[in-house]
C-alpha cells in the first residue's frame, strides 16, 4: 500500500517537474523554432538591433557595477548586524521587487523628474535625468538591485559566524575578514544574486519606457526595440527576441560558471537522490 503511494508520489514529482520545464521552455523554444539562424543573423544586420544591443549591454554593465559595489556591502551589513528597524530596512529594500514596472517608472519620475522631489537641485546643477542613458541605468538599478541585495544577504548570513569570531580572535580586522573570507565564502550566493539582477536588468521594459523613453542608440534597449519592431514586423521581432534570449542566456551561464553556481559539488543532495532513484 505505502509502496504504491511512494511510487505515485515519486511519479507526481517527476510529472510536476516535467510540466514546469515544459511550460517555461516552450515559449523560448518557440522563438527559436520560428526564428531560425537566418532571422537571428538578419536581425543583427539591422542597425537598430545593433544599437539596442549595445545600449542594453552597456547600461546593464554599468547597472551591475553599481549594484555589486554598493549592494554587496549593504547586504553584508544587513546580514551581520542587528540594529533597530532592521526588518523595516529589509522590507523597504525588497519593495521594488513587488512593484509593477509602471509604478517603478512613475516613482523614478517623481523622484528624479524635473517636477520631482530632486528636480530643483538636479536642474540647478544643470542635470536632467529623464530620457537619458543615465535614466536607463537608474531604471535597471532600481528594479534589479533588490534581487541582488536579497540574495547576497542570504549568502552572507549563511557564512558560519564562528569563522568570523575565529578571524577576530586571530587579530584580523573586519575589513580583512570581509574581503578575504566573507566575500569568497559567499561567492556562490553572490553569483546567484548577480545573475538574477543581470537578467532583470536586461529584461527591464516598463520603467525604462516611462522614465528613459525610447531613442535608438541612446535609450532604446533591446526589449523596447523588440516591442517597437513587433508592431510592424513580427519575424524581425522574433529575431530580436532570439538575440536577447541568446545574449541573456550566455551572460547568465558565464556568471554562474564563474561564481561556481553550476557544478557537481553544488547539489550533493540531488546526486544522492539520483543514485537512490536509479537503484
Amino acid at each position: 500500500m505505502s509502496r504504491y503511494r511512494e511510487a505515485a508520489f515519486a511519479t507526481a514529482l517527476v510529472v510536476a517537474l516535467s510540466a514546469t520545464l515544459l511550460f517555461l521552455l516552450l515559449p523560448v523554444v518557440a522563438i527559436f523554432t520560428q526564428a531560425g539562424p537566418g532571422e537571428l543573423i538578419g536581425s543583427l544586420a539591422r542597425p537598430e538591433a545593433r544599437d539596442a544591443l549595445e545600449v542594453s549591454l552597456r547600461s546593464a554593465a554599468i547597472a551591475m557595477a553599481i549594484i555589486l559595489t554598493v549592494g554587496t556591502p549593504a547586504a553584508y551589513l544587513l546580514a551581520t548586524r542587528n540594529f533597530p528597524g532592521r526588518e523595516l530596512v529589509i522590507t523597504a529594500i525588497e519593495l521594488p521587487i513587488v512593484l509593477p514596472p509602471a509604478v517603478a517608472g512613475i516613482g523614478l519620475l517623481a523622484a528624479f523628474g524635473p517636477r520631482g522631489a530632486l528636480g530643483e537641485p538636479l536642474s540647478s546643477l544643470g542635470l536632467s535625468i529623464p530620457l537619458t542613458s543615465t535614466a536607463v541605468v537608474l531604471a535597471m538599478v532600481f528594479v534589479s538591485a533588490p534581487l541582488h541585495v536579497r540574495q547576497a544577504q542570504a549568502a552572507f548570513a549563511a557564512v558560519d559566524p564562528r569563522l568570523r569570531q575565529a578571524s577576530h580572535t586571530l587579530g584580523a580586522t573586519e575589513f580583512r575578514w570581509f574581503t578575504r573570507a566573507a566575500l569568497p565564502l559567499a561567492t556562490p550566493g553572490l553569483g546567484a544574486g548577480a545573475t538574477l539582477a543581470l537578467g532583470r536588468s536586461l529584461g527591464e521594459f516598463g520603467a525604462t519606457l516611462m522614465f528613459a523613453g525610447s531613442l535608438q542608440g541612446v535609450t532604446q534597449t533591446l526589449p523596447l526595440a523588440i516591442f517597437e519592431t513587433f508592431t510592424t514586423d513580427f519575424t524581425a521581432a522574433l529575431g530580436l527576441g532570439a538575440l536577447l534570449v541568446a545574449v541573456s542566456g550566455a551572460l547568465l551561464l558565464t556568471v554562474k560558471l564563474l561564481g561556481g553556481g553550476i557544478g557537481p559539488q553544488r547539489a550533493p543532495g540531488y546526486a544522492a537522490a539520483g543514485v537512490r532513484a536509479a537503484d
Binding site: T169, L170, A181
Partner: protein, 352 residues
C-alpha cells in the same frame, strides 16, 4: 601574573557568576552542556558581551565594566581552539595559519610553515582546509591558534567526539600547544575524563557557578557535592547517617540496605563510591570495616580487560571489575552477587 576572570552576567536560564584566577598551567572547567562553560571562554576572548565583570591578564584589563573597558577580541592575545575548529574552508592550511600571524607576507608564511611543521602537517600546507581529514584539521587549527603568539590559550571541548585511538594523539598535540603558550590554558569540557587527561586543575561548573575547584585527585577524594561526585564518575546514593560505636558511620538507605563509611557524618548524606572500588563475590566475607551488600545483577558490559556491572541493592550501583573476575563469577543478569568495598571507599558528602 596570570589571568583573573570575574563575570556576573545573565544567561537565558540562569546567571553566570564566577570569580577565578588562573596563574599558570592548565585549568579545565567541567560541567554538563548548558552550564555556561563556553560563554566563559567567549567572554574572556571578547566574543560575547558580559553585563558586568572584569578580565585581567598580566595586569592588563581586557574587560572591566566598572571602568568602561571592553577591548575588542583583536587586541586580546588569546589562542582560541573552537569546538568545530572553525578553519576557513576556502583557504589552504598555510593561509589559515598565516591569518593570525603578524608581520610581512614573507614573515607570516615562514612562521605559519614553522607552526604547521611543529604539528607534523608541513606537507599539507597547500591543501585547502575543507579537503583535510578531521585529525589534520585539528592540527592546523592548533597551529593557527598559536599564530599570533597568544598569552592565554582557550580550548573548547578539545577532545570532543574523538575515538580512543585519536584521543592519545590529540592529547599529545594539545600538550605541544599548551607548552608553546607562556600564560595559562583554560579549557572547557563536559567530560571529566578529558579534564583528567589534560588539566592540572579542574573547576566544576554547575548552573553558571564554579562549585568546586581542585586537582582531579582532590575532587575524587572529597567531592563537595553529589553533583561533583557523579561528575567525577562515582556512584551516589542518599541515606541517613548515624555514628556507630566502633567510630565508623552507618548509612541507612531508603530501601533499608545499610552501608558503612569511615567518614564522619550525621543525618541526610550522600554516599559516593567509585565503581572501581567495588569488588564482587559470590558470598559476603565477614568484617565490620567492610561493606558487603547483597545485590542483583542488572547488566554486564565488557570493554577489553575491564567489565562494568550494573547492580541493584536495590538502589542502582555500578561496579567496575576485571574481566577475569567477571568470567570467574559467571555473572548473569538477574542473578545474585555480593558487592564488597572498604568503609574508606564510601565517601560521605553533605546532602543537598
Amino acid at each position: 601574573m596570570g589571568l583573573s576572570v570575574r563575570l556576573d552576567t545573565p544567561l537565558p536560564a540562569f546567571a553566570l557568576r564566577i570569580d577565578e584566577r588562573v596563574d599558570h598551567g592548565v585549568v579545565a572547567v567541567v560541567g554538563p552542556s548548558g552550564a555556561g562553560k563556553s560563554s566563559v571562554l567567549e567572554m574572556i576572548a571578547g566574543l560575547r558581551r558580559a553585563a558586568s565583570g572584569a578580565v585581567v591578564n598580566d595586569g592588563e584589563a581586557w574587560l572591566d565594566t566598572d571602568r568602561g573597558i571592553n577591548r575588542p577580541p583583536q587586541t586580546r592575545r588569546v589562542g582560541y581552539l573552537f569546538q568545530d575548529l572553525a578553519l576557513f574552508p576556502h583557504l589552504s592550511a598555510l593561509e589559515n595559519v598565516a591569518w593570525g600571524v603578524p608581520g610581512s607576507r614573507r614573515q607570516r608564511r615562514a612562521r605559519a610553515m614553522e607552526l604547521l611543521e611543529r604539528f607534523g602537517t608541513g606537507a599539507l600546507s597547500a591543501r585547502r582546509a575543507d579537503r583535510l581529514s578531521g585529525g589534520e584539521r585539528r592540527r592546523v587549527a592548533l597551529a593557527r591558534a598559536l599564530g599570533r603568539d597568544p598569552q592565554v590559550l582557550l580550548l573548547d571541548e578539545p577532545l570532543g567526539g574523538l575515538d580512543a585511538a585519536s584521543r592519545r594523539t590529540a592529547i599529545d598535540e594539545l600538550g605541544t600547544a599548551v607548552d608553546a603558550v607562556s600564560g595559562p590554558t583554560l579549557l572547557v569540557t563536559h567530560d571529566f575524563a578529558d579534564a583528567v587527561d589534560l588539566a592540572d586543575e579542574v573547576a566544576v561548573m554547575e548552573q553558571g557557578r564554579i562549585v568546586q575547584r581542585g586537582t582531579p585527585y582532590e575532587l575524587g577524594a572529597s567531592p563537595a557535592s553529589r553533583f561533583v561526585a557523579s561528575l567525577v564518575g562515582a556512584n551516589t546514593v542518599t541515606g541517613h547517617a548515624a555514628r556507630r560505636p566502633d567510630g565508623l558511620t552507618a548509612v541507612r538507605l531508603s530501601s533499608g540496605t545499610e552501608l558503612v563509611s569511615a567518614d564522619p557524618g550525621a543525618g541526610e548524606v550522600v554516599a559516593s563510591i567509585f565503581p572501581a572500588d567495588i569488588a564482587l563475590a559470590r558470598e559476603g566475607p565477614g568484617g565490620s570495616a567492610l561493606n558487603a551488600v547483597a545485590a542483583t545483577v542488572t547488566g554486564v558490559a565488557t570493554l577489553g580487560p575491564r567489565t562494568r556491572v550494573g547492580l541493584r541493592v536495590p538502589e542502582a550501583l555500578i561496579a567496575e571489575i576485571t574481566t577475569v573476575s567477571a568470567r570467574r563469577l559467571d555473572l548473569r543478569v538477574g542473578g545474585p552477587v555480593t558487592a564488597v568495598w572498604k568503609a574508606t571507599a564510601t565517601v560521605l558528602v553533605a546532602a543537598g
